[in-house]
Amino acid sequence: MTDRRRINGPVGATFPPVFVYEGEDAVKETKKTRSRPPNAIRKMYLKTGVTPSASGSAYLEIETSAKGSGSGLKLSCTVHGPRSLPRSTPFSPHIILSTHVKYAPFATRQRRGYLRDSTERDLGTHLETALRGAIIADRWPKSGVDIIISIIEGDQDRESSKAEGDESWDMMNALSGCITVASAALADAGIDCVDTVAGGVAALVRNAADDSVSNIVIDPVPSEHEKILAACCIAYLPTRDEVTNLWFKGDLGASDMELYTSLVEKGIQASKYANRVLVECLGETVG
């Protein structure tokens, strides 16, 4: 799958060096813990209209999780269209949505190639499902719109090595950011939406290895917790009180249905917080 026309870096053979700290204390200190309360999301910055050449655009930044080290999430979204469909496409009474999510090659610890890999395509499908429910598709017959998201920085902790963190949990955070930023960019492009959709993540975490108690936090940062047992990412329409996309992953017993329900509820709560930022940002755009 690698692109032969470009000179690619070595394939997965190198690991970024991890430097030894001066003393024992310094090593201990790098073990991060969550400093926010369990029901608070990280601060985020959202701005629309950052790309003048696109029909609509938005930029989202989520603050760095840990002091000094990790990188926050930085997303840029451009919306192109509505524009006419290529000739080969059959007649469609609706707008055709196509979503592209791409990590920049330097966004994560492990370098990403230029071609979209399966996780990026997967994110794109999730995003499409989330947005399809929010837009009013029949307002734009025979046209297509491209939503392109570049993940400039991938919200990963630089200090933990590749083998430690599980990237699959990072995907959830990335998706929720993608949903929020795409929603802002769609509103900026003037494409009819039933509501402002925003993403939120909640996770069931265990904080210490020997701790049998697990609790639910919203907007989890994987490196701050010992183990994530389950997580869900929700795309939520606040005024309609509806969910357009739900992605749950983890391992829960069938008897733990209450846990699942409260996980979803917390996810919605996280999405409501993100929506507040979104509404404020859009208000600034008009005013």
Partner: protein
């Protein structure tokens, strides 16, 4: 498959929607009950060149085969801070060892889905593959089985082929076929010990199952050995009105309000049978339906194709039908694409927005219900002869 066009008229869609949302029971086009699956034919061990294989053919003519291939691969030894410090200070090497044994990389499994008429990097194909893989890796039990020793592991390639055109959303079919293929998958017996280069027994008869079976227990009439653990299954479930419908056919999915793919696993039964002491536990774990302890592994929303269906035009706004005054009004409305109307009974309108939280929760609960559909499906799969 959401981009695929459903060739149904607004009137047909409206009729389908109405009949599927009938209370107390929906009227499905093929006469099934809401929880009934389409009848299927299944067989395992069909491909001699694989470690495990299965084929399932649904009554509607969709057919899938899955082949499992295993290769020995060197485990990448990451240079981490942990190993560095333990080497320096000789601190708890046993602890370190235990940790290493526990984890298995998620890249030890590679799953590819091939659907005729779709590119292999088509979003739908990737989505299906990721969904099945996610469920398989969710509990971390599977990758543990693939460990050979500290330096080597098995790499499993799961190749899923849909050999018929996709007449309906192929998720349940692919999931069930994968389940059976994994159950029948066998790996050669390891002869070497410890961390030395692995050496395997040539005798295929001595090979071990990836999903181990309990030799002491015979399972029902087929004389199969009872499988101790099972791979997950992914079920497709949708809601129309107040009804929950399982295994929807393509035309049913075309009017779905919401569709979910729910992956369900079975809790690993503890192999305490050898001691003979826990007889009562043993009895409980027997294949009595409803005694199975299910686990929820993943839930994904499927974009229902209903959002891309053509809307019907109510008589009130149909300019071809009403008095000519209507046309004059429509002309003044430049800018509004289609005239906004309230939902009219009997006129199809593609759903907008998402689904209520309660509906989604009800779907998941229905799947996990004791003695419910997931149980039934797993029972059905148990009856398949695993050659």
């Amino acid at each position: 498959m959401s981009s695929q066009h459903v060739l149904l008229s607004p009137a047909e869609l409206s009729y389908l929607h109405a009949s599927l949302s009938l209370q107390p029971l929906p009227l499905r086009p093929d006469g099934r009950s809401p929880t009934q699956f389409r009848p299927l034919v299944a067989e395992t061990g069909i491909l001699p060149g694989t470690n495990g294989s299965a084929r399932i053919c649904f009554a509607d003519g969709t057919e899938a085969i899955v082949g499992v291939k295993a290769e020995v691969e060197r485990t990448v030894q990451p240079f981490t801070q942990d190993t560095q410090t333990t080497q320096d200070e000789g601190e708890t090497p046993a602890e370190d060892e235990r940790r290493k044994e526990e984890v298995g990389g998620s890249d030890w499994v590679e799953m590819t889905v091939e659907i005729p008429g779709y590119r292999d990097d088509d979003p739908t194909t990737v989505f299906l593959g990721q969904m099945l893989q996610e469920a398989l890796l969710a509990d971390g039990e599977f990758t543990k089985r693939l460990r050979i020793n500290g330096r080597f592991h098995w790499k499993i390639y799961l190749d899923i082929l849909l050999i018929s055109p996709p007449l309906s959303y192929p998720l349940p079919l692919l999931s069930l076929t994968t389940h059976l293929a994994l159950l029948s998958a066998r790996l050669p017996r390891l002869k070497s010990e410890g961390d030395e280069d692995p050496l395997f027994d040539d005798d295929w008869a001595a090979s071990t199952y990836v999903y181990p079976r309990d030799n002491n227990k015979k399972d029902g009439k087929d004389g199969n050995n009872k499988v101790v653990a099972r791979p997950p299954v992914t079920l497709l479930v949708m809601a129309v009105g107040n009804n929950i419908i399982f295994d929807p056919a393509r035309e049913e999915l075309a009017v779905a309000d919401v569709a979910l793919a729910v992956s369900v696993g079975e809790e690993t039964t503890t192999t305490t049978t050898q001691t003979g002491g826990d007889d009562d536990v043993d009895m409980e774990e027997g294949s009595t339906p409803g005694k199975r302890r299910l686990r929820l592994l993943s839930v994904r929303t499927i974009d229902p194709p209903s959002r891309l269906t053509p809307p019907g035009v109510p008589n009130a706004t149909n300019t071809a039908y009403t008095a000519p005054t209507g046309t004059a009004e429509a002309k003044t409305q430049d800018g509004a694409r289609t005239l906004e109307t309230e939902r009219v009974e009997g006129v199809w309108k593609a759903p907008r927005g998402g689904a209520k939280v309660m509906v989604m929760a009800a779907l998941v609960a229905k799947v996990l219900e004791k003695g419910g559909v997931a149980d039934e499906v797993l029972d059905g799969l148990e009856a398949v002869d695993l050659g």
